[in-house]
C-alpha cells in the first residue's frame, strides 16, 4: 500500500474539460441513436469514442486511451464504415427508423435510468455510495504497470485471460470470414 503520490504537473481546468467532453459524448450518443443515415451515426460514434479517449487521459489511463483510439476509432469504426458502404441502400433511409416496440424500449430504458438515479443518489451515513477518488501517481509508468499485470511472471494476474482473449480473437476472425464469404 504505497502512499499516493501527487503528480508533478496537475491537470489544468479539469472540470471544464470534463464537462466539455461529457457534453460531446452525450450529444454524440444521442446522434448515434437518432440519425437516419448510418454513416452519420458512425461519425457521431467516432466523435464519442475520441472524446472518451480524452476522458481516459484525464483519468490517467493513457494506455487505455491509446488502445481506444487505435482499436476503436481506427479499427472497429473503419470496419463499420466499410460495411455500411457495402450495404448502404437508399431505401433504408426512407423506411421507418424505429421498430414497433419502441415504446416498450423507452419504458424499459426509463426504468433502468430510474434505477441508476436511485443508486447514485442513495446516501448512507451522509455519503454517496462512491466517494471521490483520491488522485494518485505519476502518469509515466502506466503502460509498464498494465503490462506487468498482463504479462509479468510474478505479478501477471491476467496472463491466462490474455491468452484466452487471443483465442477469442482467432475464433472471431474465422467466424467473420466464414460468415462474410459468399462461397466457402
Amino acid at each position: 500500500m504505497n502512499p499516493a503520490t501527487v503528480p508533478a504537473n496537475p491537470p489544468v481546468a479539469t472540470p471544464f474539460f470534463f464537462y466539455l467532453l461529457a457534453a460531446i459524448m452525450i450529444i454524440g450518443g444521442i446522434l448515434v441513436i437518432t440519425r437516419r443515415n448510418a454513416v452519420h451515426s458512425a461519425m457521431a460514434l467516432i466523435t464519442t469514442l475520441l472524446a472518451q479517449a480524452a476522458l481516459y487521459l484525464m483519468l490517467y489511463a493513457p494506455f487505455v486511451a491509446g488502445v481506444q483510439i487505435i482499436l476503436y476509432a481506427g479499427g472497429i469504426m473503419v470496419l463499420f464504415l466499410f460495411v455500411i458502404m457495402l450495404i448502404s441502400i437508399e431505401r433504408t433511409q426512407k423506411e421507418r427508423q424505429f421498430n414497433k416496440q419502441w415504446l416498450v424500449g423507452i419504458a424499459a430504458a426509463a426504468a433502468l435510468g430510474g434505477l441508476f438515479i436511485a443508486v447514485y443518489t442513495t446516501r448512507t451515513g451522509g455519503r454517496t455510495l462512491f466517494p471521490e477518488g483520491r488522485l494518485t501517481y505519476l502518469e509515466g509508468e502506466n503502460t509498464q504497470r498494465v503490462a506487468a499485470l498482463l504479462f509479468d511472471r510474478a505479478t501477471g494476474t491476467y496472463m491466462f485471460a490474455f491468452e484466452i482473449a487471443s483465442l477469442l480473437l482467432l475464433v472471431a476472425i474465422i467466424g467473420a470470414v466464414v460468415m462474410a464469404k459468399k462461397r466457402i
Partner: protein, 431 residues
C-alpha cells in the same frame, strides 16, 4: 505580471518538454512552431518534389513563377484558395465538408509527440508510439468518408481500396514497431518504453541505432516499416487509392479548391509524420552520427558546425545559380530574388553558428536531415516505380510483410532473451 514572466522563464531552466513540464505557454509556442514549420516543410516539399522529379525525368520543372519556380507553391496555394469550391449536388454535404478536416487533423495531431530533440517536443507521452500510430490511422476515416460522401463510383472505389490498404499495412507496421519496443526493454530494469523520447534515449544508452541492432533483425524491421509507411501514406508505388490512370483521382476526385488542398496538405504531413516515426525508432531520432564512437567536446563542436555549413553550402549553390541566370534585363527581378534567397540561406547558416543557437538547434537539424532523406526516397520511388495492382498490393501486405513481421518479432524476442533462455535450459538439464 511578474508571475506570468516568471512562469514563462521558469520553463527555460527546466530540462523537460513543455508538455511534461506542464507549461501551457511554451506548449502553445511549440505547437505554433511545429505548425509553422510543418507548413513550410510541406511548401518546400511541394517545390522540391516537382524539381527533383523533373530532373529525374529530364525536364526542368517549374521555372516561371519566381527564379527556378521558387514561388510556384505559393502561386499554387493562391490558385487553390481562389478556386471555386464545388460540392456535388448529390453529395452528402455535412460529411463531404467534414472529411478533409478529419484527414488534416489526424495528420497534424501526430506531431504532438514527435521529438525533434530531447526537449524539443510538444509533449512526451507515455504512449508516444501508440498515439502516433493510432492517430495517424484515424486519417483513414476521413478518406473513407470523403469517398462515400462524394456519392460517385470512382471516389467510392478509391476509398474502399485505400481503407483496405491502410488497415492491412497497419498490421505489418505495428509488428515492426513492436520489435523496436522489445529492443528498448534491453536494460538493467528490463522495462521497455513507448515514449518517443524514451526510445531515442534507449538507443543512446544501448550505443547503437536500432536499425543495426541484432543485425539483420533491426534492418528487416526497418525495411518492413519503410515499405508499410509508403503504403500507409498512399504514395507511389502504392498510390492505388488515387491511381490517376484507373480511378481519375481516387477518393478526392470530387474535391476541388481549398478542400482538395487540405487533402494535399494532409498527405504531405502524413509522409513527414511516418518518416519521423521511422527516424525515431530506427535511425536514432535527433542523435547526431556516432554519438558514442566519436565522443568528446571536439567532435561535439565539429558536428554542431555541420548545420551551419549545410546552409552555407545551399547558399553557395544558390549564389552559383544566381551567377548563371541569364543576363537579360527581363530576368533582373528574378536574379535579385534568387540572390536574396541565397542571402537568406546564408543568414540562416550564419545564425546557426552562434554558440547558443547552435547547441539548441543541432538536434532539430539532425532529425530534419534524416526525415529529409526519407522525403527524397518518396520522390525517388515515385520517379522509378510503376504502380502495383490491388491484389498484388494485398499480397505484399498480407503474405510477405505480415509473416516476415511475425517471424521478426519472435526472432527478436528469442535473441533478446537468449541469456535467460539458455540459463533456463541449463537449469532444466541440471540434475
Amino acid at each position: 505580471m511578474h508571475g506570468a514572466i516568471q512562469y514563462i522563464l521558469s520553463y527555460l531552466e527546466s530540462n523537460q518538454t513543455p508538455g511534461a513540464a506542464g507549461n501551457v505557454f511554451w506548449a502553445t509556442v511549440y505547437i505554433l512552431l511545429v505548425f509553422v514549420g510543418l507548413s513550410i516543410a510541406v511548401i518546400a516539399m511541394n517545390w522540391l518534389e516537382r524539381k527533383i522529379l523533373a530532373h529525374m525525368q529530364v525536364r526542368l520543372g517549374p521555372m516561371r513563377v519566381g527564379p527556378h519556380g521558387l514561388l510556384q507553391p505559393i502561386a499554387d496555394a493562391l490558385k487553390l484558395l481562389l478556386k471555386e469550391d464545388i460540392i456535388p449536388a448529390e453529395a452528402d454535404k455535412i460529411v463531404f465538408w467534414v472529411a478533409p478536416f478529419i484527414v488534416v487533423l489526424a495528420a497534424f495531431t501526430v506531431f504532438v509527440v514527435v521529438p525533434f530533440g530531447p526537449t524539443h517536443a510538444i509533449t512526451d507521452m507515455n504512449i508516444g508510439v501508440l498515439f502516433m500510430l493510432g492517430v495517424s490511422s484515424l486519417s483513414v476515416l476521413g478518406i473513407v468518408t470523403a469517398g462515400w460522401a462524394s456519392n460517385s463510383h470512382y471516389p467510392l472505389i478509391g476509398a474502399l481500396r485505400s481503407s483496405a490498404q491502410m488497415v492491412s499495412y497497419e498490421v505489418a507496421m505495428g509488428l515492426a514497431v513492436v520489435s523496436v519496443i522489445l529492443m528498448t526493454s534491453l536494460n538493467e530494469t528490463s522495462t521497455g518504453t513507448l515514449s518517443m523520447i524514451g526510445i531515442v534515449q534507449s538507443q543512446l544508452a544501448q550505443r547503437e541505432w536500432f536499425i543495426f541492432k541484432f543485425f539483420p533483425l533491426g534492418l528487416i524491421g526497418f525495411f518492413i516499416f519503410a515499405v508499410a509507411m509508403v503504403a500507409e501514406t498512399n504514395r507511389a508505388p502504392f498510390d492505388l487509392p488515387e491511381a490517376e490512370s484507373e480511378l481519375t483521382a481516387g477518393f478526392h476526385t470530387e474535391y476541388s479548391g481549398f478542400r482538395w488542398s487540405l487533402f494535399f496538405l494532409a498527405e504531405y504531413s502524413a509522409m513527414i509524420a511516418v518518416s519521423s516515426i521511422a527516424v525515431t525508432l530506427w535511425l536514432g531520432g535527433w542523435l547526431r552520427p556516432f554519438p558514442n564512437a566519436l565522443p568528446g567536446s571536439t567532435w561535439e563542436l565539429v558536428f554542431s558546425l555541420i548545420p551551419g555549413f549545410t546552409f552555407l553550402f545551399l547558399a553557395g549553390m544558390t549564389f552559383y545559380s544566381t551567377a548563371r541566370m541569364p543576363k537579360h534585363p527581363l530576368f533582373r527581378v528574378q536574379t535579385i530574388g534568387l540572390g536574396g534567397f541565397g542571402a537568406l540561406l546564408a543568414l540562416v547558416g550564419l545564425i546557426l553558428f552562434i554558440p547558443g543557437v547552435r547547441v539548441r538547434v543541432q538536434d532539430i537539424f539532425w532529425f530534419s536531415a534524416k526525415v529529409a532523406g526519407f522525403m527524397y526516397l518518396y520522390i525517388w520511388y515515385r520517379g522509378t516505380f510503376p504502380r502495383y495492382r490491388f491484389d498484388q498490393l494485398m499480397k505484399v501486405g498480407w503474405k510477405v510483410l505480415l509473416p516476415t513481421g511475425l517471424a521478426l518479432l519472435i526472432l527478436t524476442a528469442l535473441v533478446a532473451m537468449r541469456t535467460e533462455l539458455l540459463a533456463d535450459l541449463r537449469g532444466a538439464w541440471r540434475p
